[in-house]
């Protein structure tokens, strides 16, 4: 009984989340204390603009526990994080968790739209070019260089200039409706699709030479129908693993894209918080995205094991 629990997926996921949460809160705590100007100074100096008295300053310091020894502050902070309390935002005097919860919707929309768009584009390009030998080869080698070199914020600017200002097809900013999601999602999807194609194309090339594929063709199945029905299902597994690891790219990308296109979301408040030095809010976003990264990657690993049990547990 105990053994099955220890080996179960949920238990190992729980353990990893605990470790990452602890590590993340420790890092943010170290960053807060290792940098010049203590946490308390930043907090009270911002308030002193509004005429804060020395007594009130002491009260604030006591309320946040800054007068206690560092190890006690550390335990207090980490303990709070584990209880889901990420602290209060300096600038918005609201719990950090509440602020993030209010902004996570548009960011998730953006993330899912970009992943979806990247997958559809990559599959389409790979399927169409799998037969074209030298052209596809050249495409892959050019993509390899271009995809990692084009900065996403510039890609967004180029899309804005041509499709929004030039042709007037898409709104330049805002988050009204599905149409305004296209350009921001494309900005993040294009580099991802480039990477996916590089992996998907060789995989597909192997699959179309496999005996099962030739059998399917011999039974009279059309080429593209056989590719979509048989080869693609096999070739998609590595892409699935890869798209999970792209979570970090999406979070970083959201900071850039949301600010570029004037969309609401976690990336937008993140940049704002960095500029005004709202440390609890920045730390909260960093901790949550590290935890989300672990949960997503573990779940996708598990999903792949379920789809293809031949793959051994690592």
């Amino acid at each position: 009984m105990l053994r099955t629990i220890r080996e179960s997926f949920l238990f190992s996921l729980f353990l990893k989340v605990v470790i990452v949460t602890w590590a993340a809160s420790t890092i943010t705590f170290i960053v807060m204390h290792a940098t010049p100007g203590t946490y308390a100074d930043i907090l009270t100096s911002d308030l002193s603009q509004y005429g804060i008295s020395p007594e009130r300053r002491q009260e604030i310091i006591a309320a946040y526990g800054f007068d206690r020894p560092v190890w006690q502050q550390y335990l207090l902070y980490v303990g709070n994080v584990f209880r889901g309390d990420l602290g209060m935002s300096y600038a918005q005097s609201q719990p950090v968790g509440q602020i993030i919860a209010g902004q996570i919707g548009p960011t998730m929309e953006l993330a899912f739209a970009s992943i979806g768009l990247a997958l559809v584009t990559a599959v389409a390009v790979a399927v169409v070019t799998v037969r074209a030998g030298w052209f596809g080869q050249g495409l892959t080698s050019v993509l390899e260089v271009v995809v990692v070199s084009v900065p996403s914020f510039w890609l967004g600017l180029v899309l804005l200039t041509t499709l929004s200002f030039g042709l007037g097809w898409f709104p330049a900013s805002g988050s009204q409706g599905l149409w305004s999601l296209v350009l921001p999602a494309a900005t993040l999807a294009i580099p991802m699709a480039g990477t996916f194609v590089q992996i998907l194309r060789p995989e597909l090339q192997n699959e179309v030479q496999a005996p099962y594929f030739i059998t399917a063709r011999a039974r009279g199945r059309r080429y593209y129908s056989a590719v979509l029905r048989h080869a693609l299902t096999h070739a998609m597994l590595p892409i699935l693993t890869l798209s999970a690891s792209y979570f970090a790219f999406l979070v970083s990308g959201a900071v850039i894209v949301e600010n570029l296109f004037g969309r609401p979301g976690v990336g937008r408040i993140m940049l704002n918080a960095v500029v005004i030095k709202d440390v609890p809010l920045v730390s909260g976003i960093v901790i949550l995205s590290a935890v989300a990264f672990v949960v997503i990657n573990q779940s996708v690993d598990r999903l792949i094991l379920w789809i293809d049990p031949r793959i051994e547990k690592r």
Partner: protein, 265 residues
Amino acid sequence: MSQKKLLLIGGAIWALLLLAALWPQLIAGYDPIQSNPLRALKPLGTEGHWLGTDYLGRDVWSRLVHGARPAMLMGLGATAIALVGGVLLGLIAGLGGKRLDTFLNGAFDVLFAFPDLLLALLMITMLGAGNFNALLAIGISGIPTFARLMRGEIRRIRNSEFVMSSTALGVSRRANILRHILPNALGPVVVLASLFVGRAITYGASLSFLGLGPARPTPEWGLMLADAQLYLSMMPWLAIFPGIAITLSAAASVILARALRRTAE
């Protein structure tokens, strides 16, 4: 594209970048900072300003050329921090005892869960914006990647047959590390470093585009892009050229990394 041609293009970009970073006056005719309102927002092909001028009348070509220096400093500086920090930590983990290795490897794994731009943003929150702080933040957030690679390489080589046989022949541990393990482990790390230069340039430009890098009027590609945003519909080339500069320098670093990997193999 053939390998040779690609390498030639990469080399040409590197040469141009280094020239622009070291002696910008040689290829840029104007002061990149001095503004001249009478000549503001000249279009492409204007006599004397073939790439036009920006909203303060500064020559776009000259600003592009002078932008190579901050970009190269960012690329090389951040890479140096990530490389040195990562190699040292990787060495300690790879050569140390089992317990130390388990602990450090766990730490690298955990750090890997942080999106690196967010880690850089966290540091900038505390240090404040600015060129040097952005460089520091990008460099430090790259350390886990290098450390992981270095540690893995050392573990692999340490248990390989040729090291075991040289130990069996009586070569001391120290000589083994210096003569066999280190030189072999550094190969992939150097490839990663050349790749990281381009990534650091792109990240640096992203940070200054977001307003967290150097202050105006520094001629810096990310800042130039941020300023160009207002004129996108009228003068899109103001945004096109700095982007091409960033893309080319990142591409040059990818090409170099590919060439190095091929040589190593």
